[in-house]
Symmetry: C2
Subunit: 413 residues, 2 copies
């Protein structure tokens, strides 16, 4: 069995952390100077590992194996949130690097081709999931032209200034690229709560984002008796338990819904709110359930409007994101590897967060694997994972990667 | 019986409206250039009515009668909200002017002294109720030194620039000032709903303003199962019905409470709120009830904290404002006048809004009288009252004013 080198893995991961290190966390926004510097370093490490490495026309780093035959792509992203952790994305990329090295070092696996990717802007500093979208063949020219970061810098200008604008963009290679593996930290607390070390991802959940706007009558909070008020805020608050009840009837243990923001208008203590907005997000692995939840919401809205005295309007904030099922045979490879390396220490679970894998799955079979996040924390400076879990996860991923490629060789022989 | 002149009343009221007229509304913020111009005009009209008029050291306009004997002060404020109506405050001041004129014109009442006041900054552009506070003898020097408007102008500088800073401040005259009458628009919809024309105010309600801060755990909205969340926003929403239930048990028909503002932190759709603030105001004419409501809230907070998993903290935003009972004998004068002028067309009612009268009541007997607000609307450009109601209200106030002063003369003879 292929063996990864935990020390080499952790050394590279800590070196990457030094680019943008801020206390225990990392600030390495996509295409920032420190991100560009880390990409140069990463491309250099890929070259040392025998990969042909490029930083492409959108900023993705891609290390292409010189081996012939079917190739597995292992990757994730090294850009971070504005207050990011050191492992979110970064860990999966360095896993890829270490697995490419480890396979090359073992005679039984030295013929196997692993390409390693650090996509760009998964976190949406300019345009979320840009690198993986470009890789699968989406036209990203419009995003590049229109996208700006919070400081108002244009993506096109930033790529130009970095000398990347004219470079070719790395694309999916049909026939050669046979599978995609994205190892990642869990970013939630399920593995820790279950006392497990490895999560084999079944599905990346879909999500819907909606706004409910309640319209009543703005009034003086002192002179308007309770009985004649049309308080939009009170109506919003009264709506939520009905929604919770309807969703609970439809939900399974993995369904989640969140009211992340409430705005009362005018937001003054002395004024009965005349309007109130509630922003709702819900996620589930099952597309039919997501639709059933939205239908239930529409029914509640209809009932609420029939009842009065405050009206409510439901609008979609963003395009719905459909659930993406991970490739079953690849997930089984991960499960077998986990069973071999960490027997009894793994579970199957959905991914509640979005990942590049949901984009890559549009062009080839894709799978994901999780290691535990301490306290379930992510997108925060204190994000962390036990070193033993980091090493274990890489060994599981390497074992699975070898098996995936060996199966491809077997099919072709 | 003294008779007011409705045409003269409405002409003056409309002339005052022209200072700061904006569509159907008025923008005449305290001590703004247009407000200062209107004060010059008002002082002139007072002089023409035989009053000795001054604009005092805080900007209040005070027209002092030259008659000897007990004097009734009639007044309100002519400054407006940022988007104000034409009658809020202004009507009561012009009532005073018209009543002073009408009493002087009738032989039976020509000896009666009415002083007319337009206080300053009732609406709190710089420092709420400034004029009445100065009149009753509060030290307002600190307010003058520290207060600024939304544009950051200092009250002290504005008074200086207007040439008012060095002037004497008008003060309550013990022995001479025997009563205060403040006629006002209702600013609510109770008179209209009851089909009545005159409201005799029993009490100006007290109010309390509190903040409830819920503290849970910020988490990823996709990866955090519902069962392990500590969602501060959901806790806030769950708290409100318990509060409504507790308040409803304590309330009478006039008790009001309002959640005017809710802030979820961080306010992102993808993040389970880790903190949530709710701003609460409640008002009642009964001080014991206000305390009982606050006690009930404290009990709920204790229960909520005992229960978990989200904690809540209750803090006072501002000094509680105690209810102020209107002087019973003066209210009876208003009631008798209403019965004479508009039999069956009046009710007794509390004032849900704050007024200068609650301050003036600290130095002398005070009373208030309301006329209907169309649609209950106030603090809005479309605020209005039927001209027939404006005229009727002034006649009731004049009749009551004469009776109040005649009673004082009778006492002293």
């Amino acid at each position: 069995m292929v063996k990864i080198d935990p020390d080499r893995l952790l050394t590279d991961l800590k070196r990457l952390r030094s680019f943008g290190a801020t206390g225990p966390g990392v600030v390495r926004l996509a295409l920032s100077p420190v991100d560009l510097a880390s990409r140069e370093w990463l491309a250099g490490r890929m070259g040392e590992a025998g990969l042909d490495a490029v930083i492409d026309g959108v900023g993705a780093v891609f290390g292409r194996s010189r081996k012939s035959g079917p190739a597995l792509v292992i990757g994730s992203h090294t850009d971070t949130q504005p207050t990011g952790g050191w492992l979110d994305g970064a860990m999966g990329v360095i896993y890829g690097l270490e697995i490419a090295r480890a396979l090359a070092e073992h005679e039984a696996t030295s013929h196997l081709a692993v390409d390693v990717a650090s996509w760009i802007d998964e976190e949406g500093t300019f345009s979320g999931l840009l690198g993986s979208r470009s890789f699968v063949g989406d036209s990203v020219d419009e995003s590049i032209r229109d996208a700006t970061n919070r400081q108002g810098q244009r993506l096109a200008d930033v790529l130009e200034a970095a000398g990347l604008a004219g470079r070719p963009r790395v694309r999916f290679e049909p026939g050669r690229h046979v599978a995609y593996l994205e190892p990642h930290i869990e970013q939630g607390g399920r593995l820790e709560a279950a006392g497990k070390s490895i999560g084999v991802v079944t599905t990346i959940v879909g999500l819907r984002e909606l706004r409910l706007r309640f319209t009543g009558q703005r009034n003086h909070a002192g002179t308007t008796p309770m009985t004649i008020r049309r308080d939009a805020g009170a109506a919003l608050v009264a709506f939520i338990p009905r929604m919770n009840e309807a969703f609970a009837r439809l939900a399974d243990a993995d369904t989640v819904w969140t009211v992340g923001r409430i705005d009362l208008d005018p937001g003054s203590l002395s004024v009965v709110p005349g309007a109130a907005d509630m922003y709702l997000q819900f996620r589930d692995a099952n597309a039919a359930r997501l639709q059933a939840m939205q239908d239930a919401l529409a029914d509640l809205v209809r009932d609420f409007n029939a009842q009065g005295p405050v009206s409510v309007e439901l609008t979609t904030i963003d395009e719905p994101m459909q659930p993406v099922t991970m490739h079953a045979a690849l997930a089984d490879h991960l499960a077998r590897a986990a069973d071999a390396v960490a027997p009894g220490q793994w579970i199957r679970m959905p991914s509640g967060a979005a990942h590049d894998a949901q984009v890559i799955a549009r062009c080839m079979p894709a799978c994901m694997m999780f290691v535990p996040s301490i306290g379930g924390v992510s997108h925060d400076f204190i994000e962390d994972t036990a070193e033993a879990h980091i090493a274990l996860g890489c060994q599981v991923a390497a074992t699975a990667a070898a098996a995936m490629l060996q199966e491809e060789w077997a099919k072709r022989s």
